[in-house]
Symmetry: C2
Subunit: 121 residues, 2 copies
DNA sequence: ACACATATATCGCCCATCGATATATTGGCC
DNA sequence: GGCCAATATATCGATGGGCGATATATGTGT
């Protein structure tokens, strides 16, 4: 609602996940879903444009890496995955974003916190 | 992001304010700003369409009332204010919205909470 | 052979947000 | 009197971005 700062939750989640460990797109969609019992649906249409934007901002970096078959380390399938890593700049930004997010939810809570306790004007 | 449910903060704030006491538009913009040190800017372009929508949903009701001059109760200026009151349905909805909002922020926090093993707050 | 899962990526429709704008009255100030 | 800010409510349309639909390619299971 831009009253304050959207502090975009989707980005927050992705940066947080990447702050824990490097990951690739498809994995992130699964992780987000799994860790939220399906509540957080990070769809391709949302995720990939976002990763692109985050990289353009220098908050994350990417690199293609081979997928090696389970049992046979020599088996190069030629398939690749694009791994994403958070950058130092990204970590700093994440801290800021988290702080902004907490400030924002705290602010909203000050309005919710003043609960009614029956009254009629 | 619609990952989950936006649980629109602006509506949350307005419904909460009206749950405390009845109010009129201009007052709500001032209240929101005052109670947030200017952080929450509930502009006319945001507020009035929202009040209209809330009323259409039956969550609030409205009524025009005369503005009486301070010292002279007989002084009818002819000016009017539109007062808004939350409806029972609105209160119910507010409760639901608050619950949804708390669930949502809690969910986001599970991602933020899993901070990289290390630093202590 | 077929369906589904893995994996990445783009495009553009839809529509909600909100800045700009309009209108009217009152109060203060010089 | 003249002017500007504050009070008070309201509409509208462009801007932009979220995300569903879609495309592409390989792997795996039956």
């Amino acid at each position: 609602m831009a009253l304050f700062d959207k502090s975009d939750s989707a980005q927050l989640v992705v940066l947080s996940l990447l702050a824990e460990r490097a990951g690739y797109g498809y994995q992130l969609t699964k992780d987000a879903a799994a860790r939220s019992n399906g509540a957080l649906r990070l769809t391709p249409g949302v995720l990939y444009p976002m990763l692109k934007a985050l990289e353009a901002e220098g908050l994350i970096t990417s690199s293609w890496e081979e997928i090696k078959a389970e049992g046979s380390p020599l088996d190069e399938t030629g398939r690749r995955r694009k791994w994403y890593r958070i950058s130092p700049k990204g970590r700093k930004k994440l801290e800021q974003r988290i702080a902004a997010h907490r400030a924002y939810t705290a602010l909203i809570d000050t309005f919710l916190g003043a609960r009614p306790q029956g009254e009629r004007p």
